[in-house]
């Protein structure tokens, strides 16, 4: 199972080991880890999602990445629920023979995840809790993949 939406934290070393096990053709693994930033006095966040559609969206994102790059393996884990500053939010792993495919596919997955996967962040800081606005730069990042 290459896509997971879960409350629990993930173990990047275990995920990488599982990803590359038994495939001697993998020469490059890229990981992206997203963390809760404490900028602006933020102490925690609540991550809401759309159960059912979220998994479907992540699977579509993975399929699209596999169609565009020669990938040996992909793993996407996105957490939901309450997360504190410094906690992991998301893990994307891409494995390929060569580094360029792995790098580009990981970036692609993150760009699409930011704009297509139904997650919403509510940040808790010194002035109360606020829903995070979508960033124009994320839309722009997604558009560059055509």
């Amino acid at each position: 199972m290459s896509v997971s939406v879960q409350q629990e934290d993930f173990d990047i070393a275990a995920e990488m080991a599982r990803l590359t096990a038994g495939d001697a053709d993998i020469g490059a693994v890229v990981s992206f880890t997203g963390l809760v930033r404490g900028t602006g006095g933020l102490t925690a966040m609540e991550l809401e999602h759309y159960p059912g559609m979220t998994e479907k969206a992540l699977e579509e994102i993975e399929a699209e990445a596999r169609a565009r790059w020669p990938l040996s393996a992909v793993r996407i884990i996105h957490r939901h629920g309450r997360l504190a500053t410094g906690d992991n939010i998301v893990l994307v792993l891409t494995a390929s023979r060569h580094r360029q495919a792995a790098f580009e596919a990981a970036e692609f997955v993150m760009d699409f995840l930011k704009t297509k996967a139904p997650f919403w962040k509510k940040e808790e800081g010194p002035e109360g809790a606020n829903w995070v606005d979508a960033r124009d730069s994320d839309d722009a990042a997604t558009e560059r993949w055509g």
Binding site: L47, E48, M53, I89, L113, K114, P118, F119, W120, R135
Partner: protein, 81 residues
């Protein structure tokens, strides 16, 4: 038909899920019916440019037809990752 609301749309409407009877032909018609109901719905849909919609868990828009649809979800632009 099941209608879902997420994030601040859920907070404005006051609940995350409801079953409704509707003959709305499109998402736009459904939005019209909901906003006519009560002030809290009107508040949730006040700025349609900030509202996204999925029909049966697929991205949709205001013109998407609802014939045969079982689940419609309204939410703000996503902010995951």
């Amino acid at each position: 038909m099941k209608v879902l609301y997420f994030a601040w749309m859920r907070e404005r409407v006051g609940h995350g899920s409801e079953e409704i009877e509707t003959a709305a032909a499109t998402v736009s018609d459904l939005v019209g019916e909901l906003t006519a109901r009560e002030e809290r719905y009107a508040a949730a849909f006040a700025d349609l440019s900030a509202v996204r919609v999925a029909v049966d868990q697929q991205q949709a828009d205001l013109s998407t037809p609802l014939a045969g649809a079982r689940e419609v979800a309204f939410f703000p632009p996503v902010t995951g990752g």
